[in-house]
Amino acid sequence: MRNNGNNLALRFWQVLVLVGMFVAWHVLTVPGIVPPFYFDDPHKAPFFFGEPLKVLSRIWDWFIGGDIYRHLGVTLIETLLAFVIGTVFGVAIGIWLALAPMASAICDPYVKALNAMPRVILAPIFFVWFGLGMASKVALGVTLVFFIVFFNVYQGVREVSPVVLANARMLGASRGQLLRYVYLPSAMSWVFASLHNSVGLAFVGAVVGEYLGSSEGVGYLIHQAEGVFDINTVFAGILVLTGFALALDMVVTLVERKLLVWQPRGGETERI
């Protein structure tokens, strides 16, 4: 009971903070409510910071008018493709290098260099290779996702308990079966543990790619609005992206719960 009450109070305060921020934004930007204290002209504040009511009405128009769905769909597809492709490559190469010490030793400096490189600068190359369509955004996302997954898988395979491994061998597992029934599940648990990170980065790759050059997607909308100094649309795009990222994160949390049932979690008792 107490817990529930606490939760409600918490929600209340959280919503209050949000409303408070919008009210402050509104009061500080709409001309004529407070006298200008930083800019010399009351119309400069909305020029730089937008006006929340216009931003919200823009979002409303997008969703009612249906313009936004195509762009959201494109961003979502790019995100998912980048995530899936990056994960598959990360898992495959991670397992391979973890089980081949020689290859791993040879590749080590290159892996480190590639990981240290700010990979967003690859975007221009991907535009040249794959054009301005979805493929270049997916490629950018893949480079971001790959390393997260790769390092986690590498770690996961390296840290398989030697006793569990010996036990599987004694139970008659062949080399291939060890890979499938021991290394892979162990590596996957590390992949799932980094799901939030990798999905988040796939999203970053997609949006940044769109922003840098494309004709579709939410990043493109923002870029276009910025080009004509339509700051309200820029903010609307940012808010939509934030909501979208939150939704994506919630889905990941649900998936994670399903996939990691076997891992101990704190406090599984029921209070009566």
Binding site: S161, M170, G172, P185, S186, Q263
Partner: protein, 267 residues
């Protein structure tokens, strides 16, 4: 009769990875022969090389010198005739109880339905029917040991290697499991090598007790035939005069080694 398992003049020297000149001979010139259907307990102070010896018998570790024969044949690679119950948790944490129990059958390519049926049967035999969908972290230490026992026995190995399987359990659970083990074993008399540092447990379970010296260069220093009648109840057998006699005799021979081992550990 060919012995089920024969360790012949086994020596095992570990070389330090950092410094190849640093070496440690854990086991030296050890011979251990187990007859078909025989239950042999091996006792020795902690750190003397019991696990090392068992790993060699399982084919998980190559001895520096000596040979292992399984049913008369020289052992190469892992010992496929043997089941191994490890000292520490060896269940796959991402598989639930029933999937852990049937893992070996799955590796052998047995159809899922048939494997599950056998698995349920074994869960019942170790007293855990209804726990099949629990994951290892949701089970107590004793339950996990039972699952591990079922996982090993479901494959019906001819040789059973057990490494201090019950050391981590409380005394009541432990006696229950010891009795269960004897019951399961009496059904089809596998050859058993049971490692323990607990002399009472060794005598209560075994046909023969082998005592190891303290390390380094561990080797057997005594062998005792345990002529207590079967079937036994491990709690009751401890109170019989013959048990006490055997215990006194073996303990007397072991005491110096245990003290030596203890002194080494403290250094």
């Amino acid at each position: 009769m060919t012995p089920a398992l024969a360790l012949e003049r086994i020596t095992c020297t570990f070389v330090s990875r950092q410094d190849r000149a640093k070496r440690y001979t854990a086991v030296k010139e050890t011979t251990l022969v187990v007859a078909p259907g025989e239950f042999v307990s091996v006792v020795g102070p902690t750190g003397c090389g019991k696990t090392t010896l068992l790993n060699i018998a399982a084919g998980l570790l190559q001895p520096s010198a000596g040979a292992v024969r399984v049913l008369g044949e020289l052992l190469v690679g892992t010992n496929t005739k043997a089941g191994y119950l490890f000292q520490s948790d060896a269940l796959m944490p991402w598989r639930n109880a029933i999937d852990n129990v049937t893992a070996g059958l799955e590796f052998r390519g047995i159809a899922r339905e048939a494997a599950r049926a056998q698995g349920e049967e074994w869960l019942k035999r170790v007293g855990l029917s209804g726990f099949g969908d629990r994951y290892p972290h949701q089970l107590s230490g004793g339950m996990r040991k039972r699952i591990a026992l079922a996982q090993t026995l479901i494959l019906s190995p001819q040789i059973l290697l057990m490494d201090e399987p019950f050391a981590a359990l409380d005394i009541q659970t432990r006696q229950l499991m010891e009795n269960e083990l004897l019951e399961l074993w009496s059904a089809d008399r596998k050859s058993v090598v049971f490692i323990t540092h607990d002399l009472e447990e060794a005598i209560a379970l075994a046909d023969r007790v082998v005592v190891l010296s303290a390390g380094p260069a561990t080797h057997p220093i005594g062998e005792y035939r345990i002529d207590l009648s079967r079937p036994r109840d491990v709690a009751e057998v401890r109170l019989t005069p013959r048990f006490l006699e055997l215990h006194t005799e073996i303990w007397h021979a072991m005491k110096d080694e245990v003290l030596k081992g203890y002194a080494q550990q403290r250094q």
